[in-house]
Amino acid sequence: MQSQEAIRRLAEQHGRGKVLVLLGAPDPESAEIAAETVVLGDPSYAGPLAGAQLGLAVYHVLESAVRAEIPAAVWEAQIGVMADVLNAEALSQAVASVRQRGPGA
């Protein structure tokens, strides 16, 4: 909930086009919920982003477009084996599906 308030404040402060959200969710379901929250609003209607269609750019950190921008040494040190443990393809698809449902998509 504190995260939702911070996200709303940053979106207002910097503008939606300037903010990008990176997720580290371990499974497609939680990735989709987190992505939906920052794009379409809190699906549980429990937090500050309930009904707030921020439409922020959101990606899972394991998506190939993200990985391509991160220096290999940093990637190995910070992500390392988790890239092999988690299902990057399923996570990418889950977040991409939310992007496609976003306002203006």
Partner: protein, 41 residues
């Protein structure tokens, strides 16, 4: 994509942590403004 963007790093304990994501984003030229590692909802 990440360069010159304001980055919100939302990690999860059983996945990839917020600080790990933030380190990657910073290395790619992003400006990390918020870091969390939690169960998001």
């Amino acid at each position: 994509m990440l360069n010159d963007k304001v980055i919100i790093s939302l990690g999860e304990r059983d996945g990839i942590s917020g600080p790990a994501i933030a380190a990657c984003a910073t290395a790619a030229g992003g400006s990390v403004a918020f870091i969390a590692t939690e169960c998001f909802v």
